[in-house]
Amino acid sequence: MAVPLDEAVRQLIHDGDTVALEGFTHLIPVAAGHEVIRQGLRDLTLVRMTPDIVYDQLIGAGCARKLVFSWGGNPGVGSLHRFRDAVTRSWPVPLEIEEHSHAGMANRYVAGASGLPFAVLRGYSGTDLAGNTPNIRTITCPFTGQELAAVPALNPDVTVIHAQRADAAGNVQLWGITGIQKEAALAADRVLVTVEEVVDELEPVPGQVILPSRVVDAVSVVPGGAAPSYAHGYYERDNAAYRAWDAIGRDREAFTAWLTELTAATGPTATGRAAAGPAAADRAADDPEPAGRGA
């Protein structure tokens, strides 16, 4: 069942698709994102709760027409400057945004995975998010009369995740912080999973999530495919690479050089190198984002 990553991306992701590359700090499918950049995909609607540097890279490379998200930043470091540049100056292309809270996005995926058209939550009340996003409405409880928030289901054309292991039949196993990956995968029409390794048998692990092979369209073996994020039990988060991204992302020229290097390289083995970059640059003093990210 395992296919090379470039082939899997070619088969499953097409221009104009709605694509979620999910991961909550852990197991971020970075190598798959880089392959999307290499293949020059365009007009994607990118979806993710926490778009971080690989989304900054996809946006800077001009792959995205729209971003649906709840928190876009470089965790622990600061803002995403390619994302900012696209939103405020349409570089390299204009970026439409649809913005939610984490609770809203999580419940949108849950509705998508559940075959429901919408989800209900206590949320958004009194915020300016509601007024700026048509996809946030209200609904009245038919029993109590309480008014609650409603958000539509999220059903990506393709969800891409990274996992620790798959077996030969294509059953996928991930553990540690598993975030929203199960729901994102089950909500999608097509599912691509990159894994650290394929094993004969998936030995049970506490805290595991299993995605049965029947909901997985392709598995690609990409050791280190989540770097510079981490794969619990395999390798640690490369915090220096996240800090280093700040300087690259801030500067169109530095970014363009990074992009040239990425697209010149072939295949996922180039990923680790390309993502690293120069030494850590401290957060600039004039950066006005919150000291704590709040959540």
Binding site: P75, H102, G207, G294
Partner: protein
Amino acid sequence: MTTVTWTADEMMTVTAARSLRDGTACFVGIGLPSTAANVASRTHAPDLWMIYESGTLGASPDRLPLSIGDGILAETADTVVSVPEVFNYWLQAGRIDAGFLGAAQIDRYANINTTVIGAYDDPAVRLPGAGGAPEIAASCREVTVIMRHSRRAFVERVDFVTSVGHGTGPGDRERLGLTGAGPVRVITDLGVLEPDPLTRELTLVGVHPGVEAAAVREATGWDLRVSEDLARTPAPTETELSVVRSLTGAA
């Protein structure tokens, strides 16, 4: 006697840590909130129950995580749950005592902006966005905001309400159906602000050692009221400082 010195950020972190009662369930964000919570759990609040939005319940990291989803959180947690579960079964259900929020802007009524500076459709600065903050501000029993004091950050009215504090004043939270008490204090590098019990307007109730109320008023973008019982924050103890520094690597 040795002379202990500290930075304004350290004073802010220590003050925030002190605000956490032992045994409470605390929703922790990365950055200053995480540092403060980890200081608290290593000093007066060993049974602080830290929840990170990545789904780690009861995490007790032995070092400061850089992100809300670091491996050290999963390894040390009582249990790791999915993201929908942490938001629905834990936060929304009202099980979290204390929430910590940062902000790019905060206003007179403690409303919080982490979305844009300027107009939403044509922002001067695009910020990371909401994350878990709107529902933390809505559903935690109480919220503490930690942020550095400046006229740019403390504004009459936030450009964008990402998370509701006290709206436009008394009764707004109840009208909006928000179940928690909202921000009960704002801790900065200069002092401590609390909403006035009647007007809900943020009022200066404490200043850190060496800081005068006038300086805080100067760093605030509205005509800041000052409590008649203005407190002086006790200086950080040596223990507190050594814990902060061991966590931040400034030891």
